[in-house]
Point group: C2
Chain length 145, copies 2
DNA sequence: TTGTTATTGATAATATTTTTCAATAAGCCA
DNA sequence: TGGCTTATTGAAAAATATTATCAATAACAA
């Protein structure tokens, strides 16, 4: 089920702003925050209220259509979620992000955490940082770092 | 080497505000953000400028003395780091957090990410959410959720 | 098409973070 | 110990980010 169907079934309307915002996030392969989305849309001539961007992201997030991605510097961005997977690796240079298939062999670690801390484990956040293929090439050429 | 020695050796002064802030974070067993730190110190009669809190956290973070902890709702808090470990589990009810020993058996997953995405993996963020022992008891008594 | 109502956008209010700069105090050295 | 140098602080202001309000608009069901 695509996000548009999902949104409708959940009782929400498929408005133009919502379509624009999701489309932008799908095109951008890096996490975007509300201000960035507003600025980018404006640059391509789409004039949305910033408030709508906030509201839309909040809605999408609460429905699980997008994920929060935490940058190493503490900034938070959003990325559309291919259903079921919620793990990303983010390029430290160009910030391009891709999802990878969540490992389900986390059980052993969860066991260990439980015996170490006595916490009941219910959820987790796992993200990786590194260099995408393009930026690896740049690094080898001495163009970065 | 304790953080005070570390700070000195790095060429920074061991000021009263810095001591207060670190001590507070060490006492609190949950992630604190700048505003919370400012408010808590003020409540216990310590009158610090909010600006100093921001500056101190930035410094501590850049030196690796504290870690950022991401709450499921997107808020960021800070926790002192026991050297070498940077993985936390946060209680979803009372927000109390404890560190657990970082698993070094991440290698296999890193391998898989590399072959799936062709990203060079350099760092990662791994956090768990759950219920601490106290809140598990509350849950069983029907006092929460 | 038309009517109902969720959704938007504009404006204002609030909250958070950063900048600036004079006053203060940490730590070195005599 | 006491003075000197300079990193650090605090206050105020500026900049930035987020949330609230409400009339105007547009999505969608009938």
């Amino acid at each position: 089920m695509d996000w548009q169907t999902f949104l409708s079934k959940a009782g929400y309307r498929l408005s133009e702003p919502r379509k624009r915002i999701m489309k932008l996030m799908e095109m951008a392969d890096k996490p975007l925050n509300p201000l960035a989305i507003h600025r980018l849309l404006r640059e391509q001539g789409v004039h949305l209220g910033l408030v709508s961007v906030y509201r839309t992201l909040e809605l999408f997030f609460s429905l699980g259509l997008i994920s929060q991605v935490f940058q190493p510097d503490g900034l938070v961005g959003y990325l559309p979620v291919s259903f079921g997977h919620h793990h990303f690796i983010v390029c430290q240079n160009c910030h391009k992000a891709v999802e990878f298939l969540g490992s389900e062999d986390m059980q052993e670690l969860i066991q260990r955490i439980h015996s170490e801390t006595h916490y009941q484990v219910r959820d987790h956040l796992l993200q990786f940082y590194g260099l995408c293929p393009e930026c690896q090439a740049l690094l080898e050429n001495g163009d970065i770092n």
